[in-house]
Symmetry: C2
Subunit: 216 residues, 2 copies
């Protein structure tokens, strides 16, 4: 809704972290927090935290700090977590099933309506009430059910083909776990989770410990 001049991506990537910490505070029953205390928890500087939050408005109060519940709910709105998103998972292997099973995503408003696979052995099986269907039915399922998010957990060879089905079906966002760059039209948002790249970075840091110990 804001007509801000586009908040930088590095800021956006920190928001979910703030949100998570605020959630922890909420669960602990703490209802007031200063940027300094948040700094200790998150490792970001207090200055940066205040700067980040002020991209979206002045949520704090001088002399007091931030109200945890309020800030949590504001960040939730900013991140779009006040809505429910319907999603499907393409690829019903272990990773797809792991995501379908994970309560955390459902709790945050991301609902998985179906898994899809081409393996006949999997088709018909249910993961926590969520049926695995034939990938041939995916396009019509997405259209009929107003699915907004498509999740790719297939091998990389199938990723582009799946992405194209998503595109044809009117999907708005793709969460891609395949180690491949998928190409879709510009207004579809693609968020990649490159597990390889994360593992390789771990490997690098392990081999160059001296330089990176206690990095953040």
């Amino acid at each position: 809704m804001e007509k801000e001049n586009r908040v930088s991506i590095t800021v956006i990537r920190r928001l979910p972290k703030y949100y998570r910490y605020l959630n922890d505070l909420l669960n602990k029953g703490i209802n007031r927090i200063s940027s300094q205390e948040l700094s200790k928890m998150t490792g970001f500087t207090a200055s940066q935290i205040r700067q980040d939050l002020n991209n979206f408005g002045g949520f704090g109060q001088q002399g007091y700090g931030y109200n945890v519940e309020d800030l949590h709910s504001q960040l939730g709105k900013i991140l779009g977590l006040d809505k429910v998103y319907k999603s499907v998972i393409a690829g019903a292997g272990n990773l797809g099933q792991a995501i379908a099973n994970y309560r955390g995503f459902q709790d945050a408003g991301f609902e998985v309506l179906s898994l899809f696979d081409k393996n006949p052995k999997l088709i018909g099986i249910k993961i926590r009430d969520i049926e695995i269907r034939d990938v041939d039915e995916m396009e019509s399922f997405i259209k009929e059910n107003g699915i907004e998010i498509g999740i790719i957990t297939t091998p990389k060879e199938s990723a582009q083909m799946i992405a194209e089905i998503f595109e044809r079906s009117g999907i708005k966002g793709i969460w891609n776990f395949a180690p491949a760059d998928i190409k879709v039209k510009e207004d579809i948002i693609v968020e990649n989770v490159y597990l390889n790249e994360s593992l390789f970075a771990l490997s690098y840091f392990m081999n160059n410990k001296k330089d990176y110990v206690r990095r953040d």
Copy 2:
């Protein structure tokens, strides 16, 4: 081996991407590439690519570009992918099983020797030859087998406890999938994969499309 003054983390995080593209080129039988061509493929500027690579040495040749096979192998060495790492997975649910099953990691030299869980129903089962053992045996298993990497795929409530077992056992690097910050002694490298944060970022970008369409 290098005694460089510590290459910036943003550079390190791009290396696995270069490595992946070079791997694709290798598989296509292409043996020569310029920074300009790499730029087109990766979306990074040619200038940035040359800068990044020159943190580690001059791998190119004026007037020619880079030899794909050579650069690939150099990056592999830099990332530490020329070694084999022994790892164990704590948490034998879907996510743990997905990782144990994923050939890509084994191919890159990350070998999973065992999964661990506390659920008696899972203990004894094998995932692709990899046995699921009782988490009570984890510490001794790690010590006896010289395990270097511990992977956490448990619910967040158990993550810290698992991390402490890893620490006691002499683990050198932790790949953490639990949405929690784990605290271990400084010289253990921790690489976190926060799936929630990735999903929330997707949600944000979907809700602010106008500003972020065709971001990179």
